[in-house]
Symmetry: C2
Subunit: 162 residues, 2 copies
DNA sequence: CCGGCCTTGGTATAGTATATCGTACTCTAT
DNA sequence: ATAGAGTACGATATACTATACCAAGGCCGG
């Protein structure tokens, strides 16, 4: 069923230009609110991260920047990515050493990722149930929870079908 | 004040020699069951991984092997670690690029880690509640779950007290 | 205009992981 | 015991990921 597209997978025919535009608009607003500068470089890096719903490596971003004709070196990219993560516009996927645009920027949140081994997309979740289970387990052990890394790998809905 | 030790942190006065001996004994048994060879190198690497309850990096293991007077190079270590992970004796901590002995070898399990930012110890959990929440979230999204990375960082019980 | 702070450019290097090839070892079946 | 197959290890080279450090330029409040 559902002639309309599914949620957010690679098989979607969703208007990805809108994903990027929305991300950039949100970024401008958030940076303005926080008194941070949303420079051209940062914008371009965010754009590149949002180019797909697959996590992208820092060096892949670097190649793209160079392809732009821009002079760039690893620190250029890492600084931009670190900034974007700090303001909550980008997440790092630890298990892939890669970066992905945050699906819900602006709101403080602990997110989880479903990473498809077939198509490479990573879908961001914000499951209160998972978060509650994590908090409960930490509490049981007297552990003061600060950071969460939840990365689930497997096969996404679209890839299972095909 | 608590003169008695807590469960499993760096502050413990637990008999760590027993941790190591148990891990080696379990390893021998598991490898025998699976028809795998538990070689001297593999045993030594497992010992080194178990030297503390802190995850250890591959290159730190390598240094220790060299200190033994053994000739060793990165592939030496990575092969041994890959083997130990394959048979379920060691886990990789993605967020640290480091390795830690499995607390419950032999049993198939999806584990989670509580990683203390102060003392560096990583405690392995097997919370059915977390696992159920993960499975449920994946199921809700039509995602066929294969691998789980759950790494929580924060402050452990012992370090909170001090 | 000046001075300070933030951002970026550029080089070098550290840290993590794998590809590849050759040799030696272990086990099994004869 | 020995040949052959399969596995494990030694060794070199290289790829991939990330950070330290210093210099130069841009932005902004005084």
């Amino acid at each position: 069923m559902s002639s309309s597209a599914a949620e957010h997978s690679h098989a979607d025919h969703h208007d990805h230009g809108k994903c990027i535009a929305d991300a950039l608009a949100a970024a401008r607003e958030i940076c303005a609110q926080r008194g941070e500068r949303f420079t051209e470089l940062r914008g371009r890096v965010l754009e590149l991260v949002w180019e797909s719903h697959r996590p992208i490596g820092a060096y892949a971003v670097l190649e793209r920047l160079k392809a732009d004709g821009r002079s760039a070196a690893p620190p250029t990219v890492y600084r931009a990515l670190d900034f974007l993560m700090e303001v909550g516009l980008v997440h790092r996927i630890e298990s892939l050493n890669a970066y992905i645009g945050c699906a819900h920027p602006g709101a403080a949140h602990a997110s989880q990722f479903l990473i498809c081994k077939d198509c490479g997309t990573a879908e961001e979740l914000e499951s209160p149930a998972i978060d509650a289970a994590l908090a409960a387990a930490a509490g049981d052990h007297g552990f003061k929870l600060a950071g969460r890394v939840v990365e689930l790998s497997g096969t996404c809905k679209s890839c299972t079908g095909s």
